[in-house]
């Protein structure tokens, strides 16, 4: 169900996400100290290559990491095997990426 490639992809994306999660939480706590409106958030993120890269990487890593993790669960707890399992993983990953990418695009360059 998990070969070396999927295993490594999941570990590498976990490594990527660890600092991104911490950064996300830190910025969130720092930014809302004095109250923050949606307009103010968008004012800082719109057109920012930095925030695009930060959350773009985050969304991509989540899609890969989550899809592989759910693949394991679907195999061991739901009994999916073979092509159905592959299809489930790809569909989950692409859906997660589409939702994440849409949100990132919306707050940066849309």
């Amino acid at each position: 169900m998990l070969n070396l490639r999927l295993y490594m992809l999941q570990r590498v994306t976990a490594l990527l996400m660890a600092p991104l999660v911490l950064g996300h939480l830190a910025v969130m706590i720092y930014a809302v100290q004095g109250g923050l409106s949606a307009g103010e958030i968008l004012g800082r993120t719109q057109g920012s290559i930095l925030w695009f890269a930060f959350y773009g990487t985050f969304a991509a890593a989540v899609a890969v990491h989550g899809a592989i993790g759910l693949r394991s669960i679907a195999c061991e707890w739901v009994g999916l095997r073979g092509r159905a399992l592959d299809a489930f993983m790809w569909l989950t990953g692409l859906s997660l990426f589409a939702m994440g990418a849409r949100a990132v695009w919306a707050v940066t360059f849309a």
């Binding site: 169900m1 998990l2 070969n3 070396l4 570990r11 195999c75 707890w77």
Partner: protein, 240 residues
């Protein structure tokens, strides 16, 4: 004084699936689980099927589920597992039942071979015998796993095997790990490939039942972790 009796429940199958038979077995002061099963077969029901050979914990034939836990029955004293005066004995988990307490070990040994748990020689009979340096770290790692008696207790204990029939299991992967660290084995590439495939070491969730229940106190979970490290390293080396 009347002799105490044990209430022994034995799972029968597979033709009589999930049917249990209860036997009254005389209790003795020194009695293993295998002694109890043998008493039933010899005195109460000669149709009871089970498997054993050496009776001293060397051959790995007599493993069964005892009160839901996999154990080597020849080295398990009945007094250690009794609940009150009762015990339930069933065939090993995760393997097909042939009859009663005898399971088909083929999947277990097929996976042993699939994990490249076979000797990969580099020398011929004409070469001198290669010396083994017992002081190396790799030899210490190999030595830690070679006392496996193939009893399949770890395989029966493993929840990942239960959930994923492709998974090679702790015993096969531990053997792959010992061979990987054995100076006399030349199968490094074949082993790393075998344990990196879809049923390989990366499916292990490190639950640790293998290490908990191994009757020889071996540590397959750490062996599998070693394989994960080595396969990851080999991947980076390939990229360089």
């Amino acid at each position: 004084m009347t002799q105490e009796t044990l209430k022994v429940t034995i799972d029968r199958g597979p033709d009589t699936a999930h049917v249990q038979t209860v036997f009254d077995v005389p209790a003795y002061t020194n009695q293993t689980v295998l002694d109890v099963v043998s008493w039933v077969q010899q005195n109460a029901d000669p149709t009871l099927s089970y498997r054993y050979a050496c009776r001293v914990g060397m051959c790995g034939s007599c493993a069964m589920m005892v009160n839901g836990v996999p154990r080597w029955t020849c080295r398990t004293h009945i007094s250690k597992v009794l609940r009150g005066n009762a015990v339930t004995i069933a065939p090993l988990r995760n393997l097909p039942v042939i009859k009663d307490l005898a399971v088909d070990m083929d999947p277990f040994f097929d996976k042993w071979v699939a994990a490249e748990g076979v000797h990969h020689g580099a020398l011929t009979r004409d070469d001198p015998i290669a010396p083994v340096d017992t002081s190396t770290a790799a030899r210490a790692v190999a030595d830690a796993g070679i006392e496996c008696i193939n009893c399949s207790v770890c395989y029966a204990a493993c929840d990942t095997v239960t959930a994923n029939d492709d998974y090679l299991g702790p015993a096969a992967l531990q053997r792959a790990w010992t061979l990987l660290n054995d100076a006399k084995d030349d199968g490094r590439a074949a082993i790393l490939d075998a344990v990196s495939d879809k049923g390989g070491c990366h499916n292990c969730h490190s639950i640790g039942s293998c290490t908990t229940y191994c009757p020889n106190d071996l540590d397959p979970m750490s062996a599998i972790a070693g394989l994960k490290r080595e396969t990851a390293k080999s991947l980076f080396q390939r990229w360089r």
